[in-house]
């Protein structure tokens, strides 16, 4: 085994350092090489992302029911219906809970990322603890937390251990249910935000902190004047992600409550339109509208907070 490897290596090595003068053929070949590498990911992207979107746009102009071989072109009728039915947009109030939760989540993630970027005991362990929930499948999380919030379930048991006796139905009222679900969502996505922030913080050169300490800056000053400006682009990204995320919440409420008790989100409503009432055309239009809303919000946000170059030194 070692013999053959060595032989192969011996044969290759002398050939490598010779800088072959690039002929016409090689140059063309070089131009093609990156595209050859890109074929697989591009094909996947086109087949599984762009092609379905194009199909969806096409369906949004029809009255297709999702299965019938016949469909009729109805023009902008579906869009007219989406925009003339205020009840379809009422569900966006639910997104407010998730938006508030994502603010909490960003602050928490920033706090933990800052703390754990300094030398703390059991640092890697805590990093693992915080990031772990993000690795779990969303459906599994839904089921786990269904038991967690059950009457006499994990949450109630833990609280009673602490001497708090509650008889609260956690998913019982719209406010309580949405808060609970938003809490689950914080638990789940905190890790992602945390890792983004931690990466950004660790890319700040260490000398800066040393210099700052020599100048007598405390931890708060270090955060305020070094970390915060240093991670601004990532912070903007996190905010965009959490806004678009809270507008399109789906998995956790769909698995846990199915949208009952006032926890229906826009995406759940769209799925119901498509698969329960067989209005695939209308649902496609609603999905496109959601896409446009998210693009619009992102655009407004980018205009308000321009992404300027960061220069710490």
């Amino acid at each position: 085994m070692t013999d053959t490897t060595q032989k192969a290596a011996a044969e290759v090595i002398p050939a490598a350092p010779v800088p072959a003068p690039a002929s016409r053929g090689t140059r063309a070949w070089r131009g093609v090489t990156p595209w050859l590498f890109l074929i697989a990911p591009l094909a996947l992207l086109v087949v599984f992302t762009y092609a379905p979107i194009v199909n969806m746009v096409a369906y949004s102009f029809t009255d297709w029911d999702g299965v019938s071989p016949e469909l009729h072109y109805t023009g902008a009728e579906n869009y007219r219906e989406v925009f003339t039915r205020p009840d379809l947009f009422e569900v966006f109030w639910v997104s407010g809970y998730y938006l508030a939760a994502s603010a909490v989540q960003t602050v928490l993630a920033l706090y933990f990322a800052t703390v754990l970027s300094f030398n703390v005991r059991f640092r890697n362990f805590f990093k693992g603890v915080l990031f772990f929930p993000y690795l779990i499948n969303g459906v599994a999380i839904g089921f786990v937390f269904l038991y967690f919030f059950q009457d006499g379930g994990t949450l109630d048991s833990v609280l009673s251990l602490l001497g708090v006796k509650t008889d609260h139905a956690w998913l019982g009222t719209p406010v309580s249910a949405n808060t609970s679900l938003a809490g689950v969502s914080v638990w789940r996505y905190l890790g992602l935000n945390f890792v983004l922030f931690l990466g950004a913080i660790q890319s700040i050169p260490g000398e800066l902190y040393e210099a700052a300490e020599l100048d007598g800056a405390n931890r708060w000053h270090q955060f305020r004047y070094i970390i915060a400006p240093g991670i601004k682009p990532v912070l903007t990204l996190a905010v965009i992600l959490s806004i678009s995320g809270s507008l399109s919440v789906f998995e956790i409420p769909y698995i846990m409550t199915g949208g009952a008790t006032g926890t229906e989100t826009f995406v759940i409503q769209t799925v119901n339109l498509a698969f329960r009432f067989n209005k695939t055309g209308l649902a496609s239009a609603a999905a496109i509208v959601l896409l446009l809303i998210i693009l619009l919000v992102t655009w407004v946000q980018r205009r308000l907070v321009p992404d300027d170059k960061v220069d710490l030194v």
Partner: protein, 437 residues
């Protein structure tokens, strides 16, 4: 053209290709005739089913082995789908959706000939089988349910007896009084909503017909207002509302658990649930597993009487049909006929036989003793009801409507019952106008 333009054109062209493939060709419809000589039928057929449990424990294989004694050259394969409706719906956009499948609710009745092969004319099949009009289009039948089901309350006899109730309640008010007695005299939860599972609540729609004992109840849904005073659905919904409002249900419905509810009912922790005959066998199994007496599981009709008699509606379960694109239609037809007539599937599930001349199963013996009247609903307007339902987004076969009703009754949603039902009937009757004919 620079590189970017080339790329854009290529990607754009690639995107347009799938955009054009929205519709498949529609076929003309075909017949799946019953084979005359069993030994000559050949082919491998795939049977789609919702009974994943029977696929896993090998029960279906046993049926197939039995089937092969008559049809030795047919190989039967099973595919269990957990999320049947959604998965089959997507597969039916192609031609590969098994050889035998269950007709999903989403398919419009008028589209049946495009997807399924006919099993024969209604005039001929209705002599032998029940439920033929549920799948009849232009005089031809496209499916056959292997079992019949009837909605009703699954209840724990022991608990009801402990509460001092020995007679089935005959009015909703009596039913509520009985549940209150159970709450006062026993530790059991009088009524379990199974709110979280959702689909269990949809059983309440099958109240339709039981209250007025009218075989034309489906016509009334299509043409009248289902939530008018005294209409079947209103009576059913009001009973559910009052039950919840009087605090006769589980403490936290939002985290209720269907699988757990079976052994709990068997053990007497839960007294009553509105389900159907299909559930009896599952609850008895749960009782056996929990080591309690399966005979404690009882079944009673909706608390309403017409001329002093209870009324039970018998309807089909999923209808089996032959894929119109199947290359082995004779074998597929043979399977449906055998499974319906000879497999004993109905008896194994304590269900009502789809054959008109077959006797009622033993579990419905108390019904016979009590003189319960059995009716079958006329389904000629069934397709229209489905259209109105989708159009109005009421979802009478979907969980949300009853979940909202339960939320309303327990105060998690604002409003009154009258407004809630009034809104439903307004949406329903508005949709009737546009979806009419």
């Amino acid at each position: 053209m620079n590189r970017r333009t080339v790329l854009a054109v290529v990607v754009g062209a690639a995107l347009l290709v799938p955009g054009c493939t929205g519709t498949g060709g529609s076929s003309k419809g075909a017949d799946a005739a019953a084979p005359t000589d069993p030994s000559k039928v050949t082919g491998t057929i795939k049977v789609l089913t919702v009974r994943t449990d029977l696929v896993q424990d090998g029960t279906l294989k046993k049926y197939a082995a039995e089937f092969n004694k008559t049809y030795p050259k047919v190989k039967v394969e099973f595919e269990g789908l957990t999320n049947y409706e959604a998965e089959v719906k997507i597969r039916m956009n192609t031609e590969n959706y098994g050889d035998v499948l269950l007709i999903p609710a989403v398919i419009k009745k008028s589209d049946y000939p495009k997807f399924f092969a006919s099993l024969g004319t209604e005039a001929e099949r209705s002599k032998k089988y029940r439920f033929t009009d549920f799948t009849t289009v232009d005089g031809k039948v496209y499916g056959q349910s292997p079992v019949g089901v009837s909605p009703g309350f699954v209840y724990n006899k022991r608990v009801w007896k402990e509460a001092g109730v020995t007679e089935w309640p005959t009015t909703p008010a009596e039913f509520l009084a009985d549940l209150k007695a159970i709450k006062a005299k026993t530790d059991a939860i009088p009524y379990y909503t199974n709110f979280a599972a959702g689909w269990t609540l949809t059983s309440w729609t099958y109240v339709d017909g039981s209250v007025t004992c009218d075989p034309q109840a489906t016509d009334k849904l299509a043409e009248g207002d289902p939530w008018a005073e005294g209409a079947d659905l209103r009576v059913g919904d009001t009973l559910l509302y009052d039950t919840v409002k009087s605090g006769l249900i589980e403490k936290d419905p939002t985290t209720s658990n269907w699988e757990e509810s079976k052994p709990r009912t068997a053990k007497g922790e839960i007294a009553t649930q509105w389900l159907g005959t299909w559930a009896i066998v599952q609850f008895q199994d749960a009782a056996k597993k929990a080591g309690v007496n399966p005979d404690d599981i009882g079944f009673m009709p909706f608390p309403a009487q017409v001329d002093g008699k209870f009324c039970a509606v018998i309807g089909p379960d999923y209808n089996q049909a032959v894929n119109v694109h199947s290359p082995h239609k004779a074998a597929a037809r043979a399977w449906i006929d055998w499974f319906t007539d000879k497999s004993g599937y109905d008896k194994d599930n304590l269900a009502i036989s789809p054959l008109k001349d077959a006797p009622l199963p033993d579990v419905l013996k108390p019904y016979e003793d009590a003189g319960v009247k059995f009716i079958e609903l006329d389904d000629s307007k069934g397709a229209q009801v489905k259209t109105i339902d989708n159009q109005s987004e009421t979802g009478i076969y979907a969980p949300e409507y009853r979940q909202n009703l339960v939320d309303l009754a327990r105060g998690a949603r604002k409003g009154s019952l009258d407004d809630f039902l009034g809104d439903l009937s307004k949406r329903w009757t508005d949709a009737q106008k546009t979806a009419g004919s």
